[in-house]
């Protein structure tokens, strides 16, 4: 596939030099990622990661998921309307908060529906970085010069690790559901349809830290903690 695209690129460029120049100029501007862009990348990652976890942990029947190509690997996305609307609501608001640097952590918790016991907690720690100082001065706003390809490579590594968790996470043998808790700063307003929640704690928890990825402006660490059954 890569070869094909390369060939086609060559083919086009040999006959339409003007287009080539256009592409060149586009490529030059591509390497700057704004705060908004960074937040979008993170929210996209969160969407795929949450869907992946929902699929891997078997919270919803596998036939409600659809395969999609992203980050160079096949990922599964839920087609359930409720989940979709929940995620879009969550991620649009989260994007705003990440842009305003209000969020420190997002936690995807998996709990037993019968007694509300938290069985697993997937923490996505969001840290804020300074980006590329020189380029920021040039552009007159905070930007990063990290290549998108590299970021996607890093995200892919994390996604592969998430997919591998099925080998050691305990089997969920009860009816389970999930929720996403946003750890925001105390001065952050609570918008409509949102409510304050209790922080969760897992008894006898075991933590597994995954690889982190960074957009140059934000760094996201993924940690899963689960109830250790002895």
């Amino acid at each position: 596939m890569c070869m094909y695209s390369l060939l086609s690129y060559y083919f086009v460029s040999s006959f339409i030099p003007l287009n080539n120049y256009f592409k060149m100029s586009q490529q030059q501007t591509k390497n700057s990622i704004t705060l908004r862009g960074s937040a979008q990348i993170i929210c996209e990652y969160l969407k795929y990661a949450i869907n992946s976890v929902l699929f891997q942990r078997g919270l919803y029947p596998p036939e409600t998921f659809k395969a999609e190509q992203q980050y160079g690997i096949t990922l599964l996305i839920s087609e359930d309307a409720q989940i979709k609307s929940f995620l879009t609501n969550l991620l649009t608001q989260s994007e705003e908060w990440i842009v305003k640097k209000k969020v420190s952590k997002l936690s995807l918790i998996i709990l037993n529906v019968a007694n509300k016991e938290v069985l697993e907690c997937w923490d996505f720690n969001v840290q804020y970085e300074d980006g590329d100082a020189a380029l920021s001065k040039e552009k007159n706003e905070t930007v990063s010069s990290k290549e998108l390809k590299k970021i996607q490579q890093e995200i892919r590594d994390v996604m592969l690790q998430v997919a591998a968790t099925i080998s050691y996470l305990p089997f969920l043998d009860c009816r389970c559901s999930f929720d996403v808790l946003v750890h925001a700063k105390t001065d952050c307003d609570v918008p409509e349809k949102w409510a304050e929640a209790e922080p969760v704690a897992i008894q006898n928890a075991q933590n597994v830290q995954f690889k982190a990825f960074s957009t140059g402006l934000n760094k996201v660490e993924t940690v899963v903690s689960y109830k250790l059954i002895d």
Partner: protein, 717 residues
């Protein structure tokens, strides 16, 4: 423009001529002829000039100028033909001279004009050359331009060719691409076909699978229906089994009744036997009828007995009533007794629990209930105080953590101070050491100086005393040298000794110091480790106690909440259903499924009626069978137990006369009874000899019959 330019150039060139011509007036005054000629010439010149001006042809004017000398020559030849007078000659000479002068002048002028002409010519030629050159240049430029034009045209042609070629190429590429495109489209179409096929196959597969599934579902349904049928059958069977058990119990009851009946029958038989006895007695009474008195007496006696019997019957009835009353009372009393028992049991359990409570209370030091309550109150107050103490302890903990922090800070300060002091002390020690050494050196020096002083004094005395003899002085000198050497040696030894000693002591002291300080440092380190652990602990506690810097928020309608709500709804629905079902169950069969129940009840009644009928039929047929057997074979057969049969003959004299048989594996055997003992002959003959029970029984019948008939006969006789 060029012409105008030329014209102006010509005018410029001719200007000197004009000037020359205009500056001629003195010559015109010289002679009329000449004037005339010259005017002519002038005129001709003027004409030429005018011509030249009008037509612009130089050559013509120049030819006119050339023609003037000819005219002059002619005029000269005309004047020579006239004879000269002196005055005229003079005048002519003057004129001639003048003419000559004029000629020379004119010649000069002509020459000048020639030169001018030549100059002009040269100028013109130069001009011409320049013009031709310009012309040539122009031509060259023109040719260059033409060449360039040609080149450009050629280039244009080439470009046109290239264009056409490129267009051709473009077309070729276009056709190629179109071909490729069509191929790709074909491929796409193929792929689409394939996809469709795959879809169709998938659909087929899916339909097949669905069919399979349907079949399976049907099979499942069939199996379920079968299971239901089986369940129904099971239920039926169980009901039947229950019926059977009911039947069995009824049968047992019947058998029991049967036994009762048989027992009644026996009683009846017994009565019958007694009646026979009565008959016999009546016979005997008839016999005794002859003697009436006896009979009357007997009648009286019998009446008395009858009265007594009636009384006894009355008594019996009374007794029965009493018994009935007593049983009723017993029944009434039984539950009371049971309650009494239960109450006793409860009392016992309560007593035991009370004893336990008391023991527990005693164990806690409270003998009475009030003491226990007091103890409980005390415990509660203790708890409250403990909680208060806990909170206090927590506050103290916080204070202690602060104190530890301050103490740590102080300790750090102290350690740094200590280190400083140590370094100062070390330096001072070294200083002291150095000073001690120096002191030693100084004392030594002092000693040496003293000795030297002594020596000098001695020497002085020696020199003062030993001035007398030289030999004595030499000996003294040697002695002195020796003495001095000894002293030096002594010094050296002392120095060495001192050095070694002092060094060793210093090292020892330092070592001791070092070890001491090392110990101190170790202790300090341990302290720091302990304090650090404590600090970590306290920090952890503080973190746990401290308010979180972030707040947790989530979407109100998250999937977990929805799922929880749904589960609760389900739970409530299930609970309600359970309640409903429980209520239905409590209401009983009337509410549940009345049709089925009615049916079953009817069936039950039917079956019960059937059973009743069958029972009746059975009893009647059994009775009939027994009667027939009895009537035909003369024996009544009773089953007394398992495989035990008692038979009594029709003609037996009493109920005691019966035989018992048991059923064995290899036939039937007679059991020894009191009655059988009286029939030894028959037993011996038929059973032991003939080995036939029927024969034995028929023989017995025969014998008994003959006996009774004989008795009757004898009675009749």
């Amino acid at each position: 423009m060029a012409k105008e330019g030329d014209m102006s150039l010509y005018q410029d060139v001719l200007e000197p001529f004009r000037r020359v011509i205009n500056t001629d007036p003195p010559k015109e005054k010289l002679s009329a002829s000449a004037k005339m000629n010259f005017t002519d010439s002038n005129q001709s010149i003027k004409e030429g000039l005018s011509n030249l001006l009008s037509i612009g042809k130089r050559k013509s004017s120049l030819s006119m100028v050339d023609a003037t000398p000819d005219k002059r020559q002619r005029t000269e030849s005309c004047s020579a033909s006239v004879p000269p007078s002196p005055w005229e000659a003079k005048r002519m000479k003057i004129d001639l001279i003048a003419a000559k002068a004029q000629i020379t002048k004119l010649e000069a002028r002509v020459n000048h004009q020639h030169t001018i002409r030549k100059e002009m010519q040269i100028l013109f030629e130069e001009e011409k050359a320049s013009l031709t050159e310009q012309h040539k240049r122009d031509e060259r430029a023109l040719s260059d331009m033409e060449d360039r034009l040609n080149i450009i045209r050629r280039r244009e042609q080439e470009i046109k060719d290239e264009l056409s070629e490129s267009i051709k190429e473009h077309r070729e590429y276009k056709t190629k691409w179109e071909g490729e495109k069509s191929e790709l489209q074909k491929q796409i179409a193929e792929l689409k076909d394939k996809l469709l096929e795959a879809n169709v196959s998938n659909k087929d597969q899916i339909s097949e699978m669905k069919k399979d599934m349907d079949e399976l579902l049907q099979a499942l349904e069939g199996a379920q229906s079968e299971v239901e049928m089986l369940k129904k059958e099971l239920a039926k069977q169980t009901s039947r089994a229950e019926q059977c058990t009911a039947l069995r119990t009824k049968l047992e009851k019947q058998t029991f009744e049967l036994q009762q009946v048989t027992s009644k029958l026996k009683e009846i038989q017994y009565e019958k036997d007694s009646y026979k006895d009565w008959q016999q007695q009546a016979k005997t009474a008839q016999k005794r009828l002859t003697n009436m008195a006896e009979l009357e007496k007997e009648v009286a006696r019998l009446r008395a007995t009858e009265r007594s019997l009636r009384d006894s019957i009355c008594n019996k009835l009374l007794l029965e009533e009493q018994v009935h009353q007593l049983t009723a009372r017993l029944e009434a009393l039984q539950p009371a007794q049971q309650e009494l028992h239960e109450a006793k049991v409860k009392l016992a359990s309560l007593e035991s629990s009370l004893a336990e409570w008391k023991a527990a209370a005693r164990a806690h030091g409270a003998d009475s209930a009030r003491a226990l309550a007091a103890a409980l109150d005390h415990a509660l107050t203790n708890q409250l105080t403990a909680v208060a103490g806990h909170s206090q302890a927590q506050s103290q903990l916080a204070a202690v953590t602060e104190e530890t922090a301050t103490l740590k800070y102080e300790r750090d300060k102290a350690t740094t101070k200590l280190n400083d002091l140590q370094t100062v002390r070390k330096s001072q020690e070294s200083l002291i050491h150095r000073l001690q050494k120096r002191l030693l050196l100084v004392t030594r020096e002092r000693d040496s100086y003293r000795q030297q002083l002594d020596c000098y004094e001695k020497e002085l005395t020696v020199t003062l005393t030993g001035e007398g003899g030289a030999a004595g002085s030499a000996a003294l000198l040697a002695a002195r040298v020796e003495q001095l050497e000894r002293a030096l040696q002594g010094y050296r030894d002392l120095l060495a000794m001192q050095d070694q000693n002092s060094h060793a002591t210093v090292v020892e002291a330092l070592r001791a110091d070092v070890s001491k300080w090392r110990d101190a440092a170790e202790a300090a380190r341990r302290d720091t480790a302990k304090l650090r652990a404590q600090r970590d602990n306290l920090q952890g506690q503080i973190e746990r106690l401290s308010v979180p810097t972030t707040k947790v928020i989530h979407l109100a309608d998250n999937p977990a909440a929805l799922a929880h709500k749904q589960v609760q709804g389900d739970l409530e629905a299930a609970n309600e259903e359970i309640k409903k079902l429980k209520a239905a169950l409590r209401e009983g069969g009337s509410g549940g499924c009345p049709d089925e129940l009615l049916q079953i009840k009817q069936q039950l009644e039917n079956s019960q009626i059937k059973l009743q009928r069958m029972k009746e039929e059975f009893t009647s047929s059994a009775q009939e069978y027994r009667d027939v057997c009895y009537m035909l074979l003369g024996y009544k057969v009773d089953r007394t137990g398992h495989k035990n049969y008692r038979i009594s003959n029709m003609y037996a004299e009493s109920a005691e006369e019966y035989l018992t048989f048991t059923l064995c594996d290899d036939g039937i055997e007679m059991v020894h009874t009191d009655y059988s003992a009286t029939l030894e002959e028959l037993v011996e003959l038929h059973l032991h000899h003939h080995r036939s029970i029927p024969l034995f029984l028929s023989a017995l019948t025969m014998e008994l019959f003959t006996r009774t008939t004989m008795q009757q006969d004898s009675d009749e006789g």
